[in-house]
């Protein structure tokens, strides 16, 4: 059945398709609709549990704890809430709890401009919590893709045994498009991790050995554990090398755009080649390098001050041109003139 759906609704339906039965959240624009949907859904489906927590810290901890208890769980928030969730994200990686964190980005830092869209939480995705960990993050650009990627995120969570981050932005969350969810086929990976009440394990955020014994002064044990975690996460990330590449004949310039910015610059695909990373982190290093090799100029257009541009520079090992839209208004004309200006400077 064709229906008109917002990005937020598609994310929620995607989670249900993936088998999620627990949602915890705290009201924040622009993801409050997901919280509302969860509340309504829990009324009609008794298997689905929902918690409106006292803050995002509690929401994130509840999401991870429910996952340890054996159900597929998720939460949704925006920038400031995501900041509060960082503690739980770090913990989720150490206790190896599969779940999904949705972060619909708005202008920051702090409260910023509620609710103007931005894409400025990328660094927070990568390393907002203490210590080394290797998160996996996806970023759709349409309502239909939001649905698909939510299922993908749940699958990647089950495989990597970690909280997967699904990015969106205030535009995408409130974007309405016509979709037919019934015809979208998805593969769902079931839960394999043993739930609580089955053994005598310790799920701890402290460094530990395989059976969960706390090892606070054993660097060799810690290194071995981290190496395994890293390997597993990168192996799962490799399984999802998601991107979209639209080559344009005779173009010497490659635009790198993602999320809502890719929709805004879409009229330019007649003039420039466009590369849209969907897996935002780990960075699509090899893929980006291959594609970038045949272009003279690489321009990253993004809703922040060059966060992804710096990752691109690191990944392809050469200079990239930046069009930092920051947050708030994204104007096509402004972006176009900025691209022209950057190219003029280069000539």
């Amino acid at each position: 059945m064709k229906q008109i759906l917002s990005g937020n609704e598609a994310i929620f339906r995607g989670a249900i398709r993936a088998g999620a039965t627990y949602f915890a959240g705290y009201p924040i624009s622009p993801t409050s609709e997901i919280l509302q949907q969860a509340a309504l859904y829990s009324e009609e489906e008794s298997r689905f549990r929902f918690l409106q927590a006292e803050d995002e810290i509690a929401a994130a901890i509840a999401t991870i704890s429910a996952s340890l208890a054996g159900v597929k769980s998720f939460t949704a928030t925006s920038g400031p809430g995501f900041t509060l969730m960082q503690e739980a994200l770090g913990w989720g990686h150490v206790v190896e709890a599969p779940c999904v964190f949705v972060n619909s980005m708005r202008v920051g830092p702090s409260t910023g401009m509620p609710t103007q869209p931005a894409q400025s939480d990328l660094l927070q995705v990568k390393g907002g919590s203490a210590g080394d960990y290797y998160p996996i993050a996806f970023y759709p650009n349409s309502v239909e893709e939001s649905f698909r990627l939510t299922v993908t995120a749940f699958n990647a969570a089950e495989e990597s045994l970690s909280p997967i981050i699904l990015l969106a932005d205030a535009f995408l969350s409130h974007l309405y498009e016509i979709v037919d969810l019934d015809v979208i086929e998805t593969e769902v990976i079931p839960r394999t991790k043993e739930s609580l009440g089955r053994g005598r394990r310790l799920f701890t955020g402290t460094a530990h050995d395989k059976s969960g014994n706390v090892k606070t002064s054993d660097p060799a044990n810690y290194r071995e554990w981290l190496r395994e975690l890293k390997e597993r996460h990168f192996r799962v990330a490799e399984k999802y090398p998601l991107y979209e590449y639209l080559p344009c004949k005779n173009s010497e310039t490659l635009l790198i755009v993602f999320g809502i910015t890719s929709r805004i610059v879409s009229p330019l695909k007649e003039r420039f080649s466009v590369f849209r990373p969907i897996r935002i982190y780990p960075v699509l290093e090899r893929e980006m390098k291959e594609v970038a090799a045949s272009y003279r100029h690489i321009i990253v257009v993004e809703g922040n001050d060059g966060q992804y541009a710096s990752w691109t520079e690191w990944a392809i090992g050469r200079k990239v041109l930046k069009v930092p839209c920051l947050g708030g208004g994204f104007k096509f004309q402004w972006i176009q003139s900025q691209i022209e200006e950057r190219l003029k400077e280069e000539r």
Binding site: L51, A53, G197, R198
Partner: protein, 348 residues
């Protein structure tokens, strides 16, 4: 003779445990294990949740699946685990700093939601693991390394906070009053709802010595001077009382509303229509018919119940049936049914 089977619930191969000599947490660990064993709780029906700090390490010594949360988040985690897995008994082992300071917000809101979890708070009135800083429950005037001239502020009164809103179960005990301590553990584990046991415990190395105590036992004597046991179940506990405060949820009475019983017209039993089980099964709310159920030989009209939604069902009960047996298994009492009008008698 003493029953030592509680040791099965502890990871004895990891002993001696990590805490200082004379520390009260060892006593909490041991007595909670005894309480769990007594009630037949084991790793298949129970999950342990702990926080951070010395007391947070208790989970690692329990022969259960244990979740060691970030600092202060034990209650949130426990609530979520109980929601996701109602079949598990969830026990929280943590301390006063974890539950009262960094987890204070979660304490307020978890107790408000009243999940069926049991919390054992090792209240040693100090931050022990980090070296003896003043904590949320440190008595005013106590000298610690962060209050060298004596703690300036009055302590957080967990007992007052947790008994402000019904329903509640709050017990205060100490590691010295062993029999009382064990009784509190048992009562808390048996209570259906959010039960909190504030266990006054000793931190001899990092709190006691600075205050002039030489051994744990001297601190125990000091507990005995400061607190006294009160018998029976109370409504509230004073700050110097050890005991159990318990109160059921208050039923809201609308102002001006008459008690329902008076409004019910007297119905003579002979006048009531007789229904067979077969006839009853048709009056199940489908196709606009009213919703009748049978209970103890009588037929009740539940059409006005907000819990009967849609067709034939109300959560786990089915309309148009004799529900006498269901009542025994239900978590609610028969008063839920008796308040509805009687419309007939059930023909056997």
């Amino acid at each position: 003779m003493i029953d030592r089977s509680y040791k099965e619930l502890l990871k004895m191969r990891r002993f001696p445990h990590t805490w200082c000599p004379g520390c009260g947490i060892g006593a909490v660990l041991k007595n909670v294990a005894m309480g769990l064993k007594e009630l037949g709780l084991d790793y298949q029906n129970t999950a342990i949740v702990s926080g951070i700090g010395c007391s947070g390490r208790m989970g690692g010594y329990m022969n259960f699946d244990a979740v060691h949360t970030p600092h202060g988040r034990a209650l949130t985690a426990a609530g979520a685990i109980k929601t996701a897995r109602p079949d598990l008994k969830v026990v929280v082992l943590s301390g006063d700093g974890d539950l009262g300071a960094i987890g204070g917000n979660h304490l307020l809101h978890t107790s408000r939601r009243n999940p069926d979890i049991t919390v054992f708070c090792n209240d040693n009135e100090i931050y022990g693991l980090t070296g003896g800083q003043a904590g949320p429950t440190t008595p005013k005037g106590t000298k610690t390394i962060t209050s060298p001239r004596g703690e300036m502020y009055p302590p957080l009164r967990l007992g007052k906070i947790l008994t402000a809103q019904t329903p509640y179960f709050f017990a205060r005990t100490t590691v010295y009053h062993l029999n009382h301590f064990k009784a509190c553990i048992r009562e808390a584990l048996l209570y259906q709802g959010f039960s909190f046991v504030d266990i006054i415990s000793d931190c001899i190395e990092l709190n006691g010595r600075r205050q002039g105590f030489k051994t744990a036992h001297q601190m125990f004597k000091w507990f005995d001077e400061r607190f006294h046991v009160v018998e029976g179940v109370r409504d509230h506990l004073e700050d110097d009382e050890l005991g159990i405060a318990k109160k059921e949820a208050e039923v809201e009475v609308k102002a001006g509303a008459k008690p329902e019983m008076e409004e019910k017209p007297e119905i003579l039993e002979e006048d009531l229509k007789h229904y067979t089980i077969e006839e009853l099964s048709h009056v199940d709310g489908s196709e606009g018919r009213p919703i009748f159920i049978g209970y103890k030989g009588k037929i009740y009209d539940l059409s006005s119940s907000p819990l009967f939604q849609g067709e034939k069902r109300m959560r786990c009960h089915i309309a148009g049936k004799n529900l006498t047996k269901d009542m025994e298994a239900a978590p609610h009492g028969e008063d839920l049914v008796l308040k509805f009008p009687v419309v007939g008698r059930l023909k056997e």
